[in-house]
């Protein structure tokens, strides 16, 4: 193998750095606004309404919603970071440079998904810190908390990357997060335990992949889960595998990248 055929780590680093620089350039949009909206959730659900809600599974309502809120931001931000990162150069045309560069598809993925996932993990931790100001928190399984955080960020950054490649317009770019992801997250048990739902809805909910993410994540905090942790982890990995398969197909066929 010649030197030139070696992996192009410099390219991965160059892309990653640009993606991180974008976050710092738009610090208001990428960091401050999610923090503000999370704080608002705590004021409204945690304090105003939450004070009138009984404990769930022995956890104060304000604390109960923390993992769900983190997941809510993690999912939406991972998707929007990654989808925008690859859609924008497609939109302005600067993607030509990426396509003409000596980089492999895997390197492109690692750089873009890595950048998007890093940003949303940082954001998740900021939200956690913000939450700690409002409610008493405890994390029973820190290793699994971080594992779920990273796994979810990576999975949904991949999902966002797929959306970014698929989208032909800004409208389509917003469509999937708006019409699918937000409803799934809200109905995924961010604000309630699925045991609180009436019979049929409880069954329907089990088809919502986000339920497993939030349940597993909440378990890492409080040791209480709607579904078993093994199932949560398994479902997350299944979704990750599906995303990897789609990305592999995109790159094999050049779908909407190289025509």
């Amino acid at each position: 193998m010649t030197l030139r055929a070696a992996p192009n780590f410099r390219a991965v680093w160059a892309i990653y750095r640009v993606e991180m620089a974008r976050a710092f350039r738009t610090v208001l949009q990428s960091i401050i606004s999610p923090v503000i909206s999370t704080s608002l959730y705590f004021v409204v659900f945690g304090s105003a309404i939450g004070s009138r809600i009984n404990e769930i599974d022995g956890i104060a309502y304000g604390a109960f919603i923390v993992p769900g809120l983190m997941m809510l931001s993690l999912l939406t931000q991972s998707i929007s970071n990654a989808s925008f990162a690859i859609y924008f150069p497609k939109f302005v045309g600067s993607i030509y440079e990426l396509l003409s560069a000596p980089v492999s598809y895997l390197e492109i993925i690692i750089a873009y998904v890595g950048g998007a996932a890093t940003k949303s993990i940082i954001l998740g931790l900021i939200i956690l810190a913000t939450a700690a100001l409002f409610v008493p928190l405890r994390i029973e399984h820190p290793f699994w908390m971080i594992a779920f955080l990273v796994l979810t960020a990576v999975t949904f950054s991949l999902f966002g990357f797929i959306i970014g490649i698929w989208a032909k317009t800004f409208e389509q770019l917003q469509l999937v997060p708006l019409l699918i992801v937000t409803p799934l997250t809200f109905l995924g048990g961010s604000f309630y335990s699925i045991h609180m739902l009436p019979g049929i809805w409880k069954t329907i909910t089990l088809f919502n992949p986000v339920v497993y993410l939030i349940s597993g994540f909440r378990w890492s905090f409080y040791g209480k889960a709607d579904v078993s942790v093994g199932v949560s982890l398994g479902m997350t990995l299944v979704f990750l595998a599906i995303c990897i398969a789609i990305v592999a197909w995109i790159f094999r066929t050049g779908y909407r990248l190289r025509n």
Binding site: R10, A14, R25, F88, P89, L99, S100, N259
Partner: protein, 308 residues
């Protein structure tokens, strides 16, 4: 091996069924300036995009310095710099950041001194901390060139480099291209401004409707296909061309004061000397004469006209 790029049997049919390229065979010599001429929609950009890895070809093969662009894409692509036709830059990046990004993307170790030199050569150094969005059109074009040169390519593609560019920048760009050639960089430029090819190219290829219809040394092309014209300003206007001069197929201006003789290096029309002798014999005197060579542009237009 003298050719640095070898394109053989390349075709491109888009998903719409449009055949953009039909069987392209083309070799680019190492170190030359090659001008690819053709009208809009002839397939120039498609061909370049295939060589650079932006568009997938339908069939055929391309090698760059012996490296197959599919099997050995890393080696092939790292040799190539591309300046596309459209001004497509991330508007929110600074000049310095985006040029260094390009260098990293092509796997080159950071080299601030080199990037500084590229920016200085393109008169962009003063603007290094400006965001791309604040640059004028000409400055953006310079930035695109800086990005392409940032990773020290051995082959540079310039797709319509002077479209919408002012005279000063055009001169700068031509000077830059010549400098690069002196350093041994092979340059392929597409253009439909023919004076550009005429001023710079060593060889010229003409592409039309997805086919290369001619590849020729520029000087040779102008010698073979170029025509000469001699214009004679007469002392006294003529009413008609005398019969004795009919074999010259002269053209007489409307007021009868000018004669034009068109001849080329290929045809067996008699030379200028014999025309002048015959004019003298016919008693026609002229006050002045001038001759001119047809430009590459006229050759080009004629070539396309001959196409079915």
């Amino acid at each position: 091996m003298s050719s640095i790029i070898s394109i053989s049997g390349v075709t491109k049919t888009y998903a719409t069924g449009f055949k953009a390229l039909k069987e392209i065979n083309l070799d680019i010599e190492r170190g030359e300036i090659f001008a690819l001429l053709g009208p809009n929609g002839a397939g120039k950009t498609t061909l370049i995009s295939i060589v650079c890895g932006i568009v997938n070809r339908s069939s055929g093969s391309v090698t760059v310095d012996g490296h197959d662009i599919s099997r050995d894409y890393r080696a092939a692509r790292s040799l190539i710099g591309l300046v596309p036709q459209e001004l497509t830059i991330d508007a929110f990046e600074t000049v310095w950041a985006t040029v260094n990004y390009s260098r990293g993307l092509f796997g080159k170790a950071p080299n601030k001194a080199f990037v500084e030199k590229v920016l200085r050569d393109l008169s962009l150094w003063e603007k290094k901390d400006s965001k791309a969005i604040t640059l004028s059109g000409g400055m953006k074009r310079r930035l695109m060139i800086a990005k392409a040169l940032s990773h020290e390519p051995r082959v540079l593609f310039l797709d319509e480099p002077t479209a919408g560019v002012d005279v000063e920048l055009r001169q700068d760009m031509w000077a830059m291209v010549r400098r690069l050639r002196e350093d041994g960089v092979t340059i392929i430029l597409t253009t439909h401004y023919i004076e550009e090819a005429e001023a710079m190219a060593d060889r010229v290829g003409v592409i039309n409707k997805g086919e290369i219809i001619l590849v020729e040394d520029k000087a040779e092309l102008m010698r073979k296909l170029g025509r000469k014209q001699m214009r004679l300003e007469l002392r006294a206007p003529l009413a008609a061309i005398p019969d004795g001069l009919s074999r010259y197929a002269l053209e007489l201006s409307e007021d009868g004061s000018e004669l034009t003789y068109t001849y080329d290096n290929q045809s067996d029309r008699p030379g200028v000397a014999s025309l002048i002798r015959d004019l003298e014999a016919a008693g026609i005197q002229f006050r002045d004469l001038d001759t001119k060579n047809s430009s590459l542009e006229e050759i080009f237009v004629n070539l396309l006209r001959q196409e079915p």
